[in-house]
Structure formats: structure tokens, C-alpha cells
Symmetry: C2
Subunit: 358 residues, 2 copies
């Protein structure tokens, strides 16, 4: 987003004298939660005009705040994934790792999480136990503390088992500005590993697809390798985890915010054979499929090898590669050179590719 | 809660090797969200054994954290109130003021909020506009900034219009320990105003009760008078807002945590005539009805008048009074002298008195 002064009044919303924008639809659609174009429009048309302030940045994974003498990152996410349990994790793992990763993408060291449950009347306590145990384990592994919480219960039929919100606070211990607007022509675009596993693990369960190998979600915390990049003095320009909307949507958002051209090499992007197969069956493009333990990292070309050497030391990033570069050129464009050598433009995902993936 | 070392293993939970407790029920009941005994047991039996750490304090409205060189408060709440709009506010007002108040009750100056929406497919955008406008106004009035957010959409029939989570970060700028365990025999118990309006405003709408005067929720931010108490050097021992479970549940929790006796004078507790009438019709005790802009404050008796003089300068606390005192004596007991001069013991609300009140 741009950080210009937005204090001027926007067109009035219907009938209540508040400066809000106008939405394209009269009702909420599933696609408004998909992380693509509809989500983006809801932000731009409803939330941003109302919550006017320079810190609210829809194109970042969280807010970077100055509190007293410290720089903090602060972020929130609600989790509504279906099914609650999937190969490689569950809604609890996702809720802890997702918020840890959002703090990490702000360049912060994740420290503290809040957890708020919305439980549906009739939920077996056994399920809650299992989810809470996963959250405990994920938090312990990442060295973060769950310090405050809330529980609400809604009537039978007014929920879907359970929903979880986690918010997080992290400490920023470096002087870098890590943001889409900080990327520069010549930067290398590094990807931490193969893509599409989380989304296809969920879809395979939902659709009852059987493959020779079960697709395991990539759900994981990525704080450690990123902290190590920063500690080692790598001049990180931008970080982004590849959740809803996948690699393509993340890069389009970054390119648009930076008004630069990002060019990718499709052959450099690792995708498991099973993931590719499942995508073909379901007619999905893996570039748009959600991940929960993958990120891109923009660094100066001169530091590319040093950065990759660090990333590859960690199990969550052993397969890190350069997949593209930042170029001068057309504003906000992402292009990708395919396997046949021709290039095409990547757009933001419109609507909902995979509903309730996180 | 006590802050003893809880690192010893608890009885194993069913079948997954995590140290969790055992719940009294096999399924979630509406009462588990009511803020009374069932909520309390869920915390003690499921959440606390899993999320073992000294900062997680179920008997406080949030966590007090040291981050770098600063002391912060961090808190979260989800809001599932029905109906979404009620006299005196809506789910948006509630979500902003509720989290502001939780930060305030930690003795912090509220600074930043996150907002996460779970929207049900089919929700009219007009409703979202109105709620967002309320949130904007509540945040502006209280001088807090909404800095980060999230939106998820769930399938039609899997939500109830919209749910909101807000988390908050505030800065603690004094050296006091404000907690249930900090209250002392001789402390005056101050109440900021009349009780029971939020709960009865909601119930009156739900039950279609008609009174000569509409009951207006007391939903409001109470940060200003509390900040002024602290700035003026009042030695505040404990603060607690009187949400789910009402005045009685809050005081029972505090008395139990402090292992002291709190004695109240029923005649000193202001209750609007309409609220009293509605409670009688519905068979509810106003001492247990939820408020969203009322709090109790424990101060040394010598500072009682100074504290009341400050509180009464603010519209949200014009009717502040002393309603009781802290005494040596039976551990964790709350007694109340009624209008006929006899005393009775107040218990924690068991189960659900008013479902989905916030």
C-alpha cells in the first residue's frame, strides 16, 4: 500500500455518515475470504477507508509499531480450516505456526501469542484436547509463549466445531525496513522450498483423492532461518509467507506495492509430483495454492549465495532456491518464463480457489 | 491463579500423550462460554495444563509482558454477541471497547488493536459497513489505533452473521503490580457506576420485553478515568471490568485469588429501576448480569475519597461509589449485606446465565 495521507473524506457509505467506500457486492461471498482479488477489494473498499491510519498496511503480514523505546510487530489471524485435522497438522498447529510466521515476515522475533477459541455447542472435548495439545507443541518448538486467551461458545449449528484466533507480538531487533516497498531492481527472489503442499493436503482429504503417497502439509514455523538471516547481517528487503493465494498472489501484491517488475523462472520452482498431479485433477494452478511453511525472501544479488547457505541449514528451508529477480520496468508486473521458454503475466487470484484452507 | 511452578506432569489426557487435565463433560456446552464456573473449569482442566507458563493468568484480563525494556499488556477477546445491534451499541462497539477495557484493567494505556473478522457467506455488506463504522468511532474516541487485521469467510450456516476478534497492546507506565493478589485487608472496593445494563439491554431485545424506558447498554471505554487514577498517584491494587458473570463472579475470582474476604453492602450498589424490573421478570440476579463499561477498583482506604473524586469527573464513572471492603478472614469468601441487614455468601455463577452476551 502507499503510505500517503488518507485523511481526506471518501464517498459516504450508505446512510450512517461514515467515510467508507463502496463494495462491488451486496453480500459476502466465500471468495471474500480467499486471499485474492475479492479479499483485496473488501480491504480497500470497506476496511481501509474506515480504519485510516498509516500503520494499517494490508500488504504486509502485520503491523510494525513503536511502543516506548522498542520496535514491535503485532499481527492477528483467525483460522477456520476444514477439516480440523489433516496430514501434517491440524487447526491448532496452523494457528500457532501461522501467526509465528506472520511476525517473522515482519522481521520480528516471535515472543508471545494470544489464543481465542470460538467453540460450537456439542463439540467433543476430546477434539479440543487434541487441538490444544498441538498448539502447545507448536508453541514450545518455536520457543513462543501463549500468554492470554479467551473462550466463547456459540449455539449448535452456528459454528463449525471450532474456530481459533491467534494474535502475536514480536520484537524487532535490527534497523532494516522489511517491506514490499523496500525491494530494489537487481534483488534476487529466494523461495524457501517446494510449493502447494498445504492446500493440496487439505483438498486431497476433502475431495477423497487417493495418491500413491499422501500429500503432507508443509505447515511449519519459519522463524529460525529468518532470524539467522537477520543475525548474519543479510540485508533482507522483503519477506512474505505464501499462504492464501499462494506464491503468485504474494508476488503480485509485492510487485504492485513496489511498482517494479518481478520476473520468475518456472523451472526453478520446486513442486512435488503428487502435488502437481492433484492440481491437474482438480484444475488448479500450484502457483496459487496455499502454503503454511513457505516464504519468499528478497535480498541483494550479491548476498544471494550467503542467504541460501543459511536457509539450507534449516529443515524448513533445505530446498531453498533463487526463483527470480526484480527488474526495472512496467509497474507492478509479475512475469514467469515457462517450461517452453515463453513468458506470461501472473495476475492476482480472483475469487476463491480453495475455500477455508486456513 | 497461583504462580507456583506447574512444570510437573498432570494426568495424561486421552490417547495423545500430552499433559492435560480431565474435563467434567464430554462435549462443549453453551455454559462453557458463560464466564462462570464452567468456563473456569474449562480453563483449569484443558487450557492451563497445556499452556503452562507463569504469564498465562486466567484470573486477569490480559498478560503483562516485559518486551525489551518496556512493560506491555497484551489481551484478546472474541465477540459473538446476538443480536449484532442493540440499544447503546453493536458488536463493533463491544469489540473495540471490550479490548480497550481489558488492557485498562491491566493498568496499561491502550495503544493498538488488531481486528479479525469471521464473516458468514451471505452477510449483507451493509451490516459489515455499519459494524466497521462503529469500530472506527469507538477506536477514535478512545485514541487507539487499529493497526492490523484479518478476514475469513465461512459457509452459509456455519457462522452467525459475523464474529469479531480483537487483540490489544498497551503500555504500562507505572511501577505498580495491579492484580487480585495485590489487594490488602482494609482496601476499599469502588464500583464505577450502576450495574446490569448491558446484559439486560441484550436480553430485553432478545426476549422482546417492553419497558417504559429502553434499557441502554453501558458499553463504553473506561481507559480515561483509570489512566487518571494512575497518573494522580492513587495506589491502585486491583482493577476488574464486570463482563460475563457480572460483579459477583469478578469479586469471587478476586477473593479466591487473594485468599481474602470481600464484604459488600448491597444498598450501595446502584441498579436502574428498569434493569431491576427486567431481572425480576426473567428471574436473573443483577449481581451476575454482564456489564461492558463498569469496573471495580481496589484502593487503600486512605485514598478512597481522592479516587472517587477523580472517577466522578468522567461520564463513564460519574456514579462511582464505595460498595465494600477487603477483610481478613475466611479464604476467598465474598459476603454481601442485603437490604434487610442480613449477610449472605456470593458464589461463582455456575453454567450459563446469559448466553452470547458479548
Amino acid at each position: 500500500m502507499n503510505r500517503e495521507d488518507r485523511s481526506e473524506e471518501r464517498p459516504l457509505g450508505p446512510s450512517f455518515g461514515c467515510p467508507v467506500g463502496r463494495a462491488d457486492h451486496a453480500q459476502i461471498l466465500l471468495g471474500h475470504g480467499g486471499g485474492g482479488l475479492l479479499t483485496h477489494r473488501l480491504l480497500e473498499q470497506v476496511f481501509r477507508p474506515a480504519f485510516t491510519n498509516p500503520l494499517l498496511d494490508a500488504r504486509h503480514d502485520g503491523a510494525v509499531l513503536t511502543v516506548g523505546s522498542e520496535r514491535l510487530a503485532f499481527t492477528t489471524d483467525s483460522y477456520v480450516v476444514r477439516p480440523l485435522f489433516f496430514p501434517g497438522g491440524d487447526i491448532g498447529t496452523l494457528a500457532v505456526n501461522g501467526t509465528i510466521n506472520d511476525l517473522t515476515m515482519c522481521g520480528a522475533r516471535p515472543l508471545f501469542l494470544s489464543v481465542a477459541f470460538i467453540l460450537e455447542e456439542g463439540l467433543p472435548i476430546e477434539i479440543l484436547y487434541r487441538v490444544v495439545a498441538s498448539m502447545r507443541q507448536a508453541a514450545q518448538s518455536a520457543g513462543v509463549q501463549i500468554v492470554t486467551g479467551d473462550t466463547k461458545v456459540v449455539d449448535r449449528g452456528k459454528g463449525d466445531g471450532l474456530y481459533i484466533n491467534t494474535a502475536g507480538v514480536g520484537l524487532i531487533m535490527h534497523g532494516l525496513t522489511i517491506a514490499p516497498t523496500a525491494i530494489r531492481p537487481g534483488d534476487a527472489v529466494l523461495l524457501s522450498g517446494d510449493i502447494g503442499r498445504h492446500g493440496m493436503a487439505i483438498m486431497a482429504v476433502r475431495e477423497g483423492l487417493e495418491f500413491e503417497t499422501t500429500i503432507i502439509s508443509d505447515c511449519a514455523a519459519v522463524a529460525e532461518p529468518v532470524q539467522e538471516l537477520l543475525t548474519a547481517g543479510i540485508e533482507v528487503h522483503c519477506l512474505r509467507d505464501l499462504t492464501r493465494g499462494g506464491l503468485a498472489t504474494a508476488l503480485v501484491e509485492i510487485a504492485e506495492a513496489a511498482r517494479l517488475h518481478i520476473h520468475l523462472e518456472e523451472t526453478a520452482i520446486p513442486i512435488q509430483e503428487e502435488v502437481r498431479g492433484a492440481c491437474e485433477i482438480l484444475g488448479l494452478d500450484p502457483l496459487y495454492v496455499a502454503n503454511e511453511g513457505r516464504f519468499v525472501c528478497f535480498v541483494p544479488l550479491a548476498q544471494k549465495e550467503a542467504a541460501l547457505d543459511i536457509l539450507r541449514q534449516y529443515p524448513v528451508a533445505t530446498d531453498a532456491h533463487q526463483i527470480g529477480e526484480v527488474r526495472e520496468g512496467t509497474e507492478g508486473l509479475v512475469t514467469i518464463k515457462g517450461t517452453l521458454g515463453t513468458s506470461r503475466v501472473l495476475d492476482m487470484l480472483s475469487g476463491e480457489q480453495l475455500p477455508r484452507i486456513c
